[in-house]
Symmetry: D2
Subunit: 365 residues, 4 copies
């Protein structure tokens, strides 16, 4: 850790490679049209800033994925870092959502003055964005242009990088696997899922069925009975394993049960950090969706209903279509509140199980 001689002259500029870094802003309007259109510089800067932050998000997500490539308890021992890095990813997303406000200081009129010089380049061709989607866990089969989007990447290096992002386990995959392995599931004679279902039915009975029985107004009674039957079904449906990933269901029943368990018993020491992690995974998912929403709104204001500049996309309408739950990463976690109930109905944890979730000094073994 001693200061290395060879480093003696490290300068801020050298460290940050500013010589190269600040020479990458080359307007097409100047190159092709012979005259700089002032706002093109902003256009380039903003897009480069997006790419710079995408790279940072990828660094964080890759490091989190790497941490998940271990057995359950090793992952657990790294939970502080997982939580902090997901928190950072969320912070970066918040920033780059704000960043659209800057691009919006450019008016459509100004954009029109250089837009045609950019043809056929298109944001559709951002390799890092595709990798980010894939590494988080966007499902290939639910994409709008499942194959077309790959055709944008022609050189071997890009193709390889993209393929790797598709083929390696996504964050969603890894989280699912980890949740399936929570050791206390179905342990100690405590079947959490069945206990929860029973409790849920009791709650539904108390708050819908019983009042319905006492309801004299027939129409109102019928409405309540319908609601009761719907509720009684919901919990089964939500926990069924699915053959094919959909916009609403992805995770295995077992993993989802693990997530439910962490949520209900978040106060147990071993679940403190995993609960924070689940919360952050949902936040990152929401923020990614918010980035898409904000992007499409900006594009709409900039080009109206004009087609996209590349031949690959239909502009606003294509982007609009990606703002759907098809592109969600953790729909099962986001939808969990559908079958939540007030705390007083939660099944109680057996004492032996509580011990397993405690700190050592509190353990009576």
């Amino acid at each position: 850790m001693s200061e290395k001689k060879e480093n003696e002259d490290l300068h801020y500029d050298t460290y940050l490679r500013l010589d190269s870094f600040l020479e990458c802003q080359i307007p097409q309007s100047l190159k092709l049209g012979g005259q700089l259109v002032h706002d093109e510089h902003l256009f380039i800067t903003t897009h480069q800033a997006f790419e710079l932050w995408f790279k940072q998000i990828l660094v964080e997500i890759d490091s989190v994925r790497e941490m998940f490539h271990h057995e359950f308890e090793v992952v657990e021992s790294k939970m502080l870092y997982i939580v902090r890095r997901l928190g950072r990813v969320a912070a970066i997303f918040k920033l780059i959502i704000e960043q659209f406000h800057i691009l919006e200081t450019m008016t459509p009129i100004d954009y029109m003055d250089f837009r045609y010089y950019l043809k056929p380049a298109s944001g559709f061709q951002s390799l890092q964005f595709r990798c980010l989607e894939n590494k988080l866990g966007v499902v290939e089969d639910l994409r709008r242009y499942k194959d077309a989007y790959k055709d944008e990447f022609i050189d071997e290096k890009s193709k390889t990088i993209l393929a790797e992002s598709i083929n390696s386990p996504s964050l969603a995959d890894l989280v699912e696997k980890w949740l399936e392995n929570i050791p206390v599931l179905n342990d100690h004679g405590f079947d959490i899922l069945q206990s929860y279902k029973n409790a849920f039915l009791k709650w539904t009975k108390d708050t819908i069925l019983d009042p319905a029985m006492n309801e004299r107004d027939a129409k109102r009674k019928e409405k309540m009975m319908t609601e009761y039957n719907k509720q009684a079904d919901i919990i089964d449906v939500m926990f069924e394993d699915v053959d094919k990933k959909t916009e609403h269901r992805r995770m295995s029943s077992k993993a989802l049960t693990g997530a439910l368990m962490i949520s209900l018993y978040r106060e147990e020491p071993r679940f403190n950090q995993p609960f924070q992690m689940l919360t952050l995974l949902k936040e990152v998912d929401s923020l990614m969706a918010k980035w898409r929403d904000t992007h499409v709104s900006m594009v709409h204001r900039m080009i109206g209903q004009k087609p996209g500049v590349g031949y690959c996309s239909s502009g606003y309408l294509y982007l609009r279509s990606t703002c759907s739950d098809n592109y969600a990463i953790f729909p099962d976690l986001i939808n969990m509140p559908t079958y939540l109930m007030p705390r007083v109905y939660y099944p109680q944890l057996p004492e032996t199980l509580k011990q397993k979730l405690a700190f050592a000094h509190n353990s009576q073994t």
Copy 2:
């Protein structure tokens, strides 16, 4: 302006009515359940903060609407205030969009502990939000629950306030009327719309038709011809008067021509501020949409696919349906880029007309 004696003892608390103001946070969980659920206080605070800012936005929008209730040149003389107040409305919207981040520090599990105490109250019942929609210019016929939403307001006072918001001219109405009256439209023998259409056709010819003529690849040529024909139609369609307001078209052809004129010739002194105004109107429209998007995303995370607490709404899915262009305020302005073209093709303003748009000291009359 002298200091009034009777004011001698004005205290910060008295001025802000903090005694009443800070006593309006009364949790239902405490009242009905006998025990405060901690996070309900946050829930109340956040909603009150929304209502407080909605009121401020209404104050600003009302003042802007009032300024538009005059003849063209009087409005013009107040343009600085219109621009500044719209800028303030945009700033407030940005803040209250951020505000959702705070509500999101509450997890669904915590919400479930007091949610049922609130039944059947619902955000669907915010009078100020409805007034805001109406005063900006949401079109009654394009609402998803055109009549149902009114049924939420039962007392006479609320009904009157709501009716007034529907019946008085909206900001969108007033802006439209003002744009129709730009005095230089069709003036001085200069028909801006016809000139623009001609220029647009020339641009389309230069950049699509001519290259198509020289294209040897038949398939590619056909594609280009299709695009050319589509473009040639677009400008007529976009400027047609509509019988019935739709998600894409609202403004009269004349008003839209006025908006186009301001945009193209924004450098003329008289159009400087109106151009800023048009830009801000679009920004407010986008921000209102962003508020809806963020709201629906928060609701989704909080209740999943549970129905809304009130009997009036289906929760997430209803809210999702309001995130559409049906609820846009200025779709014609937002869509204007569809038929914009590069600046070099703009028709030139006649010199006499330029004079009309100049400052007095530059005028040679």
Copy 3:
């Protein structure tokens, strides 16, 4: 948890007490001058929004302080909530710092039109802000107007509330006491402070003293020796107990040692959440300071160097004086990096101690 009959008609407006809440905005310009100055409404709204959020922060801080009123391990079991509520406080501070941007849409010229109607009311008289300072842990003796600030509160109720905020243990007090009680300090024959000091000296020797010994340039050598001696002193100074709280030192040596221990060994399960807590305490402290900075900057732009409206304050210059480390809450934590060193130098935890910090299932006892 069944739905209460008496609640049947709860309406959004009733729940939020909007009738009273939205009637608290009463401009003085209208009352005294007979004519509303438009921007006064914004002025009132913004200040009320601050007070609304101050109340929420107080609710959160009070709940956290309440949780600290228990013995060490009980506090530990609530750490998830402490962390989440401090995170919420940070989120609220971020929002209300942004909120100044809205007030800044009012220009000084507009403010002048109603400013004199407000005399002698002043932001100096915000009771909640004073309580917030006191409950977080601003030190009475380090305040600029130690007694004067209390004179602003005349009625008995306010006086009592203020006194209670001064006399009850602040968050800083409670955190200090908790840190002193980390059970593993000086336990198991491991004296963390002494071990750390030794390691720090070794690091200093390796990176400054040894290179100095090999340095031939006399002047440079002297400079390095000075630096070495300074560094060697620093760690003693930083951990001395202080008789009197200063801008730099507040905590007991023992508490500070506890904080250091948590920071160094944050990866041990029992320290995961306490580490997050320490990080958030520093963040809240920084954000409070940032709120002050932003406030003073806004005041400066609004009134220049005019004295404050109340007789109590000298306006900009007074506020400027509160933007100092005297008003910091956790200066010891903020200054901890002064004596941090790279991880490789950290003393190693004895295995028996590591066991005490582990989860039960990993414990081999």
Copy 4:
């Protein structure tokens, strides 16, 4: 404007030079220590993002400065662009202030693990930041390390760029010159400064002197008289020309009078946009100060009171010293509220002068 053949294959990656751009993130910890310290990547990314946006701000400020290099009326005709570009600069500053939140997701402990690899590079060496200060108008003589800061730049290219930024007229210089040339100053027999002084004295008499005369309490009366005398002096002092630029006064009396005139009569058409410009200049100034405040706070949290890594700076304490009015750009504009008074006291504009400030179509000449 036709689509160029040679551009046919433009790809998003090529346009943005992503190949070079995304290879500029090279951690020293990997290079020197042989092992990547995870958080160094974030450190690099954040600093590069700052530099990227600094470059964009420089592009905007340079373009604004260029527009000011013309005679008064030419500048006036470009006012829409000046206003919009300053608005963009403000938007960028808001973003990069937010950006610190991201760096703050790195804890001091993590920073310590790579900090020593960076020695002696330092943020003190950012050429673009120095250019930005100089081009906006930081005064060389008011800098804390007037000459030392230049010594950081050793190569000829950097030296030349820095010298150019010092020697060419700053934005503050150019704005001052423009304000001096407002044609209607001292025109038409209307001496605005003298008229304003008279009005100010009348206001002071009405609101302080007259009430003092009627005051029976001697002590109170004396206090009021002191205040009266102070106020009566203030306006003279504020408008005196200064020999040497100070933290409070920079602009010539004539320029300041121009700024006052624009502010008072902002409703006249010709002053609409200049008023917006003055408001934005103050906002940019405040935001630059806020960037410094936020930076110093981040540095404090990251290194405590450790000295800076470069030999050039003393870290936190040096940075703290730059958070002062010495580094302000437009102190005269920021301080203008000191001598503002309520609108009813403003001197009335002569009708002939009003004509000069009107639009042509309203002119009766």
